[in-house]
Structure formats: C-alpha cells, structure tokens
C-alpha cells in the first residue's frame, strides 16, 4: 500500500530475473514493485496472518512464518538475494538472523533505521525521553524494536560476525548517497536509514 522511499533503492541493487526472498514482506508492496521492475522470482515470509492474506490477494507467494524460526527450512544459497527491510532491530537475536540470511541468500539487502540520526540524538538529549521520530514512530512501551542500532554499529557488527559489506547507502531526505569510511561520521548523523548489500566473508 505504502511505497517506502527505499524500495526504489533496493530495486536498483537487485539484478533482473534473480530469485529473491523478502523476509518480513509486510503487505507485499516491495514484492510487487520488484516483480514489476526487475522481473524477479520472489517469495515472501511474513508473521502477520492479515498481511499474508493481503499478499495472497495480490497473487504473491508468501508463507506465514517467523524469520527467526522458519528461515531454516530454506536450503543454502537458495536465493540470489534475501531482503530484510527495517526489521533487524525487532528480532530477539539479530546475529542469528543475519547469519541465516547469509546462508539462505547468496547476498542480502538489509535496511536499518538509524538510531544515530541527529533528530534522535537531539530528542534524547533535550527532552530526556525515548526518541519518537518519523522513522521511529513508537513509544518505548509499545515499540517492536528490541535492538536499535546505528549505521556505525552495523559496520562494527560486520567485523564482529564477519560479513562483507558490498554497498552501503544512506537515505537522507529521500536522497541516496554512498557511505564510506571518510564520511561515516556525517552520514551516521544525517541518514534516517542505512541500506546495505552484504555477503558472507568466506565459505564455512
């Protein structure tokens, strides 16, 4: 229903005619967009029954399931890309989820709401309450987010659990730009969203 600004960016990352799994596919908007633009063979996994039913009404192939438990049924490298949009922070164990994404997919596209955005920082600094912003609309007591992180955290995370970041993009006011080591400080301050194309570092 709602076209999020990062959908276009995700679509640009993904090659045509590839096999894609959208983890937490919501109402299937991104799946439809990718089918239309990239002619991909796409599947979805979604935890909400209502949203699975919406996806079915759009003719999409979706299974009801929980990414933390149900990704294990997919064989190694059974997809060219696995997409995880703004949900990494909502899992009990993000480390296991990332490892599963990189096992099931040859590559993974992960997007994260950036907790280091200046408005978030300012919000906490001045108000002294948990930040509520456009990308983080929930209060502390009803947020699904268990493990908020920043763009900088995600880079550190890549070193810790050893995956390669091929592409890292920042979304700032609906404009996209590349993140690198020299501009990390400013991107981490101004980006609402980080978008990463990642791959396993080595075969194990």
């Amino acid at each position: 229903m709602l076209m999020k600004p990062e959908y276009k960016i995700i679509s640009d990352i993904i090659n045509e005619n590839s096999r894609v799994l959208d983890v937490g596919c919501d109402d299937g908007t991104l799946m439809e967009f990718l089918k239309l633009n990239k002619d991909v063979d796409i599947r979805g996994i979604e935890i909400s029954k209502e949203k699975v039913q919406i996806c079915v009404s759009k003719g999409l192939t979706v299974i009801e399931g929980n990414a933390e438990l149900d990704l294990k049924q997919f064989p190694n490298k059974s997809f060219d890309y696995v997409v995880l949009g703004q949900t990494l922070q909502a899992f009990l164990n993000p480390e296991i989820v990332i490892k599963e994404l990189l096992r099931v997919g040859k590559k993974a596209v992960v997007t994260i709401p950036n907790f280091a955005h200046w408005k978030v920082r300012l919000n906490l600094l001045l108000k002294g309450t948990m930040p509520v912003t456009k990308t983080l609309p929930n209060e502390w007591y009803n947020t699904p987010n268990l493990h908020m992180c920043t763009i900088k955290d995600f880079f550190k995370f890549s070193e810790k659990i050893d995956f390669k970041i091929f592409k890292s993009l920042a979304l700032i006011n609906e404009n996209v730009s590349t993140i690198n080591n020299s501009n990390l400080f400013t991107k981490n301050l101004f980006a609402e969203l980080g978008i990463f194309l990642i791959e396993k570092s080595y075969e194990n």
């Binding site: 699975v52 079915v56 003719g59 009801e64 049924q73 997919f74």
Partner: protein, 371 residues
C-alpha cells in the same frame, strides 16, 4: 440410500494394481461435476472429498436431500467459483456413493464383498481418479483442492501426476497420519465391529445394519472435528429440553443430544464397511515413507504451485503437520504459499463459513488462474 439413478458413473476398464497386490478392473467410478469445461479445457478443478464426504460437493445432494458438504465453498461466485471453473468430484473407491466399494457385488462369488473387498490406500484412490480426467479429455487440471483426507489425496495426486495440475491446495491435512489420528480411527472401527449386527461385515445379507456401532464411531470422530472452545461456547453445560438434571442416562446435556443426533443421521447415509475401509486408507497414508522418508522427493518432479492452509484450533491435523508439507516443498525450492487461518471451529473449519478462509482460497485460485 435410494435414487441411485441420480449418480453419474463411468466404468474403468483399465486394470488398476492396488497397493495390497490385487488388481481391479471394470470397476465403477461415481462422480459429479459443476460449472462447464471451457474449450481449452484448462479450467478444471478436482475437488477431493474427506472421509465421509461424497461427490455431491454443492447444491442439493440428490441422495440425502441435504446441502452438499462444501456448499459454503463451491458455487457461483463462491471461493471455488463455478461460473469460472469446471469442478469435478469423484466418490473415492471404497466409498458408498456409487464408486467401487465393499457394498458392491463381488463378481467372483456373486455376493456382496463386505470385508472381502481389497484394502485400499490413498494412492489407490488417486490412481483410480485419474481415469475420469482421461474420460473428460483433461490433460492438465487448473487445480486440485481438498481438506482433511481430501488434502492427502491432493498431495498424493501431485506426487503421482506431477504434470497434471497447475496448482494444488491441501487444506487442514497431513503428509503422514499420526498415532493420534490412527488411534481415533481405530476407536471408530472397534465401535463398528463390536456391534453384533456387523456380523463380520456380512450385515447386508441379514438386512440389519450395525447402526449403533457406526453411530458411536461418528460421535467419537465428530468430537475430534471440533475445538474445546467451540464446544464450550456452543453447548457449555446447557441442558437439553429440561430444567434440571434427571439423574439418569438420557441425554441431559445438549452436547449429548447433539452427538446422538449426529450419529443417527450419519447411519442413514453411510455404509459401515466403507467407514472401515476409508479410515484404513487414511491410517496407511505416509507420503514421505513412499520416498524413503524424504517428503521433498514426493514433489521433486513437479512445477505445481502449492497453497497450504491450516486452522489455529484444528488439533486433529494441527498447523505443524501442515507446515511440515510447506517445509518439504521449500527444501526443494517449490512454489509454495502458506497461511494459518484463525478460527475456533476446529478441524471442521474448512467446511464452515470462515470468512478469512473463504476469501483467501478464492484469492489464491482467482489470482493463479489469470496468470
């Protein structure tokens, strides 16, 4: 059971080798159809019925004079839309609505088969059904759909005939009958065979049916089709046409009266020996075992698009058993969707007016058809 002239039948000449080793030929297959087959013959849906169902899916059943068992689902503009699709349903072999079964005459002895009828399996049922598709000249079905034992047939169908259907919808079923499932079926069979009138299966020659045994079998099974919550909400401890307990063994409670009624109407339309044979076929069903314990291999030659549906309150064929089918399909990269529908109506949900189920099934079929 009269009005048998309302039953459409083909006689299958081709020999069919059964899993038990016997071969049958020149056997009748009773069926019914709804809607019309288009010129391209690509709009046919095979509906597979459950244990006590029959080929009269929707509208008025000409034999029982009651609504067809899937009237909520099949019909004009319904989930399986007979304005669009040509629906075929075939009475399973071993059944009692015209297809070859234990109430038929054994050509060798000129007597009713009874328990001399060969034990049949879901595999045999499906292998018999394919003859009707040939009869209609249908090379490929649009879909094969069924709930409960009907779902088992759906799975076996795709496994046996991977090229014969574009889509498949197994609903509230399993790929392997569990110990609990077998236990309940055995309880039903014991109730029938313990009835003195059963007479080792030769009751037709005595003209007295084992109605009590068959009714108890139905009552026990009926409980397994409902959920505890559903029963509690519908009946609770409400009394049946009385203000106080009678301190006897009449039906004091509404639930007792309801079950007795379910048992009594069932014996009018169902054959006790068929009940034995069909429950046996279900118990023998273990699709993974047919493929050395690897269920994925049952589907490895198929490009069929699957949609698996389960219900939250179904404890007879619980979600996990349906999910095991999904897992086996995903393991080979098959095209499979899955949803668990929220319902308090237990296993019977697939037969009842459960809006989310009806809507989802319709959406899956209609979206898959126009692609």
């Amino acid at each position: 059971m009269n009005n048998k002239e309302n039953i459409k039948t083909i006689v299958v000449k081709k020999p069919l080798k059964l899993d038990c080793g016997q071969t049958i030929n020149d056997f009748p297959l009773a069926y019914e159809t709804y809607g019309s087959l288009n010129i391209k013959k690509d709009n046919a849906i095979l509906v597979c019925h459950a244990l006590t169902g029959d080929q009269f899916v929707t509208g008025l059943n000409p034999i029982t004079k009651k609504d067809g068992w899937w009237s909520n689902v099949v019909g004009p503009n319904k989930s399986i839309d007979t304005n669009k699709y040509f629906v075929i349903c075939i009475n399973v072999i071993g059944g009692c609505m015209g297809s070859f079964g234990p109430s038929h005459i054994n050509p060798k002895t000129k007597k009713i088969f009874g328990t001399d009828f060969p034990v049949i399996t879901i595999n045999d049922i499906v292998n018999a059904q394919i003859n009707l598709l040939d009869h209609f000249g249908i090379k490929k079905l649009f879909s094969v759909v069924g709930g409960s034992m009907g779902g088992m047939q759906v799975l076996q169908f795709v496994s046996n005939f991977p090229e014969k259907t574009k889509t498949a919808v197994p609903i509230a079923c399993t790929s392997s009958h569990s110990a609990q499932n077998i236990a309940f079926n055995e309880l039903g069979r014991q109730a029938i065979t313990a009835d003195h009138n059963w007479s080792e299966g030769n009751y037709s020659s005595n003209n007295i049916n084992p109605d009590k045994g068959l009714a108890v079998a139905r009552m026990a099974a009926h409980i397994t089709y409902l959920s505890k919550k559903g029963l509690q909400e519908k009946f609770g401890r409400k009394l049946q046409e009385r203000d106080a307990l009678k301190f006897g063994f009449d039906a004091d409670f509404q639930i007792e009266s309801y079950l007795r009624y379910q048992g009594s109407v069932f014996v009018d339309r169902f054959d006790a020996n068929s009940y034995l044979y069909i429950t046996r076929a279900m118990d023998y069903f273990d699709l993974g075992k047919q493929f050395d314990g690897n269920l994925s291999n049952a589907f490895k030659n198929s490009k069929t698009k699957f949609f698996v549906i389960s219900f939250t309150s179904d404890w007879l064929y619980p979600t996990q058993e349906n999910k095991d089918i999904v897992i086996a399909l995903n393991a080979i990269g098959a095209d499979v969707g899955f949803v668990e529908i929220k319902s308090d109506k237990g296993h019977d949900s697939f037969l009842l007016d459960v809006p989310d189920f009806l809507k989802t099934l319709k959406n899956f079929l209609d979206k898959s058809y126009f692609k």
